[in-house]
């Protein structure tokens, strides 16, 4: 592993621009994608020996450094970039299968004419999700984390270079489906948005408290299925507020459309705030 930047951590990571739909991908094969083996080492191999740190003297050396300091620094860099370009960046987190991609497809179709949306999606493998997103006509970049269980700020920075989102747009970062690890990694987003579908347990916020503490908004999805389930939505909200008293909650069905107006209003408001924050 490169001890300057930890490059090997990213060696198994692929960033690729998604094509619109599986059929197009099948017809045009892998050339359809701009595969990029991520750049390794080049910048710091240029550093001369005089720039390398001097060996520490023997004995105990105080370090006092946050383990996540580098990720936090890169996340701030992403955040600055979003701010300068008046981009609202959101980090969508949930279990696998809660409906992140379906909600994004619907949101882009309903709102894309009003608010340009671009998407970075993280999965361990396949470009399936971002092909679905690209089929809506918006820009989408797939990051495959390989064995990794979360996106980090560096992966998002690389994804952003490929995505090149326009000023004033919304960047949705669809994180790897996982309620544990993504809670720890700031990507530079304005807010984490957690999704929880009604086919999951209503006590999930208690079981995975870190994620629901880190989220600003909880979207309870697939509410059209409620008549067929014993899901107690009020208890779910109470569980979420037990670990995060300030969490906002919207109930919606991307399939039937219920509650989507509330989600869209939330996006509009945050988008204005993101723009105003950058101008201030």
């Amino acid at each position: 592993m490169c001890t300057t930047c930890g490059c090997s951590d990213a060696a198994g990571v692929l960033v690729r621009r998604a094509a619109a739909g599986r059929r197009a991908a099948a017809e045009q094969g892998e050339r359809q994608f701009d595969y990029r083996r991520l750049a390794q080492h080049a910048t710091h191999e240029e550093a001369g020996p005089e720039e390398r740190p001097q060996p520490a003297a023997g004995g105990t050396v105080p370090v006092e450094q946050e383990i996540l300091a580098k990720n936090s620094m890169l996340a701030e860099r992403n955040r600055d970039g979003f701010g300068q370009r008046h981009i609202l960046a959101l980090n969508l987190v949930s279990s696998p299968g809660s409906g992140k991609t379906t909600l994004l497809e619907r949101t882009i179709r309903d709102l894309g004419h009003e608010l340009p949306i671009a998407v970075i999606g993280g999965d361990q493998a396949t470009a399936n999700d971002m092909q679905r997103i690209a089929a809506t006509g918006c820009k989408a970049v797939q990051i495959n984390t390989g064995t990794g269980c979360h996106l980090d700020a560096d992966m998002v920075a690389r994804g952003l270079r490929e995505l090149a989102p326009s000023s004033g747009s919304i960047v949705m970062i669809e994180n790897v489906g996982n309620l544990v690890c993504p809670a720890l990694f700031d990507l530079g987003e304005r807010a984490k948005v957690a999704l929880l579908s009604v086919t999951e347990g209503e006590d999930k916020p208690l079981k995975y408290p870190h994620m629901f503490r880190a989220a600003r908004l909880l979207l309870i999805t697939k509410t059209d299925l409620l008549p067929y389930l014993d899901f107690d939505i009020d208890r779910c909200i109470a569980c979420a507020r037990q670990v995060n008293r300030d969490i906002e909650v919207i109930r919606l069905s991307a399939k039937q459309g219920d509650g989507l107006n509330l989600w869209y209003d939330w996006l509009r408001t945050e988008n204005v705030r993101a723009g105003a924050g950058a101008a201030a």
Partner: protein
């Protein structure tokens, strides 16, 4: 398993600070509420240190207990998890300690 990423960051931080010297021991502070398993960090540390100046280094983990402060009555209380309740009946508890994820110090030779 995010512990692998964290262990790699620890190796990175220490190797950079060591500047080529051998690192013999690393001390981490890990809060009980930091969503990190010390055993998983140990496992990953042994893998990540291979072929680095940290290879063979001893890993000490100081676990920091969770503490909270009740937002209603102001009392401080142990916070083993995020579901702690205050004696006054409130469950509105602010976490004041136990989320650390820090490299405290290292020994080099």
């Amino acid at each position: 398993m995010h512990e692998m990423s964290l262990a790699q960051s620890v190796v990175e931080i220490c190797a950079e600070r060591a500047g080529g010297a051998r690192v013999r021991r690393v001390t981490l502070e890990i809060g009980a509420l930091a969503a990190v398993m010390p055993d998983a960090i140990r496992f990953c540390f042994d893998i990540c240190t291979q072929q680095t100046v940290l290879e063979g280094a001893v890993l000490d983990i100081v676990e920091i207990a969770g503490r909270g402060r009740c937002r209603r009555c102001g009392s401080e209380l142990p916070m083993p998890d995020f579901l702690a309740a205050c004696g006054c009946g409130s469950i509105d508890i602010e976490c004041i300690e136990g989320e650390a994820l820090r490299v405290r110090e290292m020994e080099v030779s």
